[in-house]
Symmetry: C2
Subunit: 337 residues, 2 copies
DNA sequence: GTACGAACGTAAAACGTTTTATGCAATGCT
DNA sequence: AGCATTGCATAAAACGTTTTACGTTCGTAC
C-alpha cells in the first residue's frame, strides 16, 4: 500500500549538487563528465543506496532485464501439479538458474493469446516458448510485436527459423524402438498427443519411417495431452479391441501410466503380453507397478543454449546455431522380459 | 530490437476524436463521461487492439499485476538444477498455476540482497519468500520498501507475523519418529541443515522434545544444505565413528541419499543395521537402493493459501489466517525390517 | 437576467528515467 | 583580437500512462 518509493535520481542530484542529467550520465557511463564529478556522483549514489527504477527506465530504453517463459504445460495441465519432477518442472528450474546467472529475471507467463494477458507481458526483453505448435499464435504475437524469442523444441514447418534448442526427438524414438525390437516386440503401437508440435510430429514421423523400414503395419493413436492418466486407461480398451500389440510406446508419461493401468485392469499381463514405454519420464511412470521404462530428457542443457541464443538476439548480435540434446533410456520392469 | 511499441492511448484518442484523458477514464471507469462516449471509446480501443503499457501505467499507479518468488533453493544450489529439489520445483509450478489463475504473473527472483538485484525486483506488487531465516535480510529489504509479502514456512522468531503458510513440521517430525519407533529404532540421529529457518528449527525442537519424552540421548548433526549427496556420504563416517544409531533422520533428501550411500560403502547394512529416512522426498531418495522412506510434502495446498493472503495484502484487505498442511509418510525399503 | 450546479470534457502536471540539444567557459589557432 | 574547438555541465523533451484541476455548456431556480 504505502509503497515507499526508494530514493530517486532527483534526490541523488540534489544531494550531489549536480543536475539530474549528470547523475544519469555518471551512472551509465555516457555523456561528457569529468572523472572527478563522475566519481563524486557515484559515491553519493552508493551512499544513498540509489537504484534506478526499472519502470521509468524501461519506458525510455527498451530493455527490462527480464525474459518471459511461456510454459505450455501450465495451460494444458491447469491445476494439476503432480508429485515428482517432470520435464517442464525441471525446465523451469533450469531456465531460472540460467537466467539469474546472467542477471536476468525470469517471468512465468501464461498463454499470450488468451483473455487477460498479464500486463508486463509485452514489456519483457525476450521470450522462451516451449513446444511451439504449427502456426503457433503465441509465436505470431511475439513476431508481430518484434519481441525476440527462442523455442524449446523446433517450431514445426519453419525450416528457416534457427533460434531453438531441442531434445533429439528422432534419435529418442529410434532408441526406444530399437530397445523394444531387442526385447522381442514385433508390433509396436504409438500413442502420441494431439498438440501439433515437433515433439509429436517428429516422433510420429520417425515411427512411421521405422515401420516402413521394418515392414510393419503402423498402429498410430492420438490422445489429447490433457486426457492424462484417465485418457490412457480408456485408450487401453481400444488397444485390446484392435488386437493387442507387443508393445505400446506412449509419448507422455501420464498416458503411459494410464494405458498400463487400463491393460492390467483388462487382464493383460505387462510386460509378458504387452510392454509399455514412455518418451518422457514422469513420476507416474516411475511409480507405476510395474515401473514404466522411459526416456529421461535433458532440459538442463537445452536451457543453457536457449539463454545464450536469446541474449544474443536481445543484444542484436548474431545468434548461435540450434542445439540438440540426447535423451537417456531408462529400462524398467515394464519392458523387462 | 526494433521493438514496435503497440498502439498507444494517444492513437486511440486521435481515432476516437477525444482527449487522452477521456480514453483513460473510459477504460478505467473513472471520471465523468457520458455512457455514449464511454461506449464509443471502448469500441475504438477494442478495434485497434489497444492495451495499456504496463510500464507507463506502473509508473503512475503502483500495481503491476505481477508478484515475485524468492526461491531459496536456487541460490543454495547454484547451477545445480537436478532432479532432487522436488519440493521447490513443485512449489514453483504450483505458485505459477495459482498466480496465473488469478491473473497475476510470477517472476522468479534471486536473493534480493546480493550484488545485481534484478531491475524489476522492487516494482513488483508483492512477494512470496520461501523458508525465511532468522532475521532474514530479504524480508528486511521488503519491509523497508513497504512491499507486501508472504512466506512459505513460518519466519522464525516472529510470533506476531501471520502471513505465512507452511508444512506442519512438528507433526511431520512426530510422524517419522513414531514410524521409526514402531520399526524398532531406539536411538535415532537427526541430520538437519544449517540454514536458520523454521523447517530446521522446528524439526530439531520436536526431535529434542521427543528424545526427552522417551528418555533417549539426542544425537544431532548439522550439515550445510549445499553439501548435498557428497556431504551426506562424508557424514556417514562420523555416524559410524560415534557409534551406529538404529536410524538416521535426514531433513533433506540429498543428505539422506548421501548418508545411506556412505553407510553402505562402509559395510553398514540398510535397513537391517541402520534405517534411513528423509523429511523431504526427492528424486535422490526415490532412486536410491534401497529406496529411502520419505515424507511427501504438500506445496500445492500451501501455494494456494499463500496467494490468497498475498492478494488480500496487495488490495489492502485483512488477510486470512496462516495455514498448516500435513505431509504423508511414504514408507520404503530403507525402513522396512 | 443573473447565479448556481450538474453534466461532460480537456489541459496539464506528474511518475522517474534517458537522451537530445544547448550553453558557457576556457583553450588553441590564425 | 577574433574565431573555432574542446571540455564540462545542464535544460528540456520524450517515453505512455493516470490524475488533478480546470473549463465549458446547459438547465434550472432565484
Amino acid at each position: 500500500m504505502a509503497r515507499t518509493r526508494g530514493v530517486t535520481i532527483k534526490d541523488v542530484a540534489r544531494r550531489a549538487g549536480v543536475s539530474i542529467t549528470a547523475v544519469s550520465h555518471a551512472l551509465n557511463d555516457k555523456g561528457t563528465l569529468s572523472a572527478a564529478t563522475r566519481a563524486h556522483i557515484r559515491t553519493v549514489a552508493d551512499e544513498m543506496g540509489y537504484e534506478a527504477d526499472a519502470l521509468a527506465r524501461g519506458l525510455r530504453r527498451s530493455t527490462m532485464g527480464a525474459v518471459g517463459l511461456v510454459l505450455r504445460s501450465l495451460d494444458a495441465l491447469g491445476d494439476y501439479a503432480p508429485a515428482g519432477v517432470d520435464v517442464f518442472e525441471r525446465f523451469v528450474g533450469a531456465c531460472a538458474s540460467q537466467a539469474l546467472a546472467r542477471g536476468l529475471s525470469l517471468m512465468l507467463v501464461p498463454d499470450l493469446t488468451r483473455a487477460p494477458v498479464p500486463p508486463l507481458a509485452f514489456s519483457l526483453d525476450g521470450y522462451i516458448v516451449t513446444n511451439p505448435h504449427v502456426d503457433d499464435p503465441v509465436v505470431a504475437r511475439l513476431e508481430e510485436r518484434g519481441i525476440p524469442y527462442v523455442t524449446y523444441g523446433r517450431p514445426p514447418g519453419r525450416p528457416d527459423f534457427t533460434h531453438w534448442a531441442s531434445e533429439d526427438d528422432r534419435a529418442s524414438a529410434r532408441l526406444v524402438l530399437s530397445h523394444l525390437e531387442g526385447a522381442g516386440a514385433r508390433s509396436v503401437a504409438l500413442v502420441r498427443g494431439t498438440d501439433p508440435n515437433s515433439w509429436n510430429l517428429e516422433h510420429q514421423e520417425t515411427y512411421l519411417g521405422w515401420c516402413t523400414e521394418h515392414r510393419r503395419a503402423p498402429r498410430l493413436y492420438e490422445l489429447p495431452e490433457r486426457a492424462g492418466v484417465e485418457g490412457g486407461a480408456a485408450l487401453a480398451g481400444r488397444l485390446v479391441d484392435d488386437g493387442l500389440p507387443d508393445a505400446v510406446f506412449c509419448l507422455t508419461g501420464r498416458h503411459a501410466a494410464g494405458v498400463q493401468r487400463g491393460l492390467l485392469a483388462r487382464g493383460v499381463r505387462v510386460p509378458e503380453e504387452t510392454m509399455v514405454v514412455t518418451g518422457s519420464d514422469s513420476e507416474h511412470a516411475r511409480n507405476s507397478r510395474p515401473a514404466v521404462s522411459a526416456l529421461e530428457l535433458n532440459p538442463v542443457d537445452s536451457s543453457a543454449a536457449l539463454l545464450d541464443i536469446l541474449q544474443s538476439l536481445i543484444a542484436g548480435r548474431p545468434a548461435d546455431a540450434p542445439r540438440l540434446t540426447q535423451a537417456r533410456f531408462r529400462p524398467r520392469a515394464s519392458t523387462r522380459r
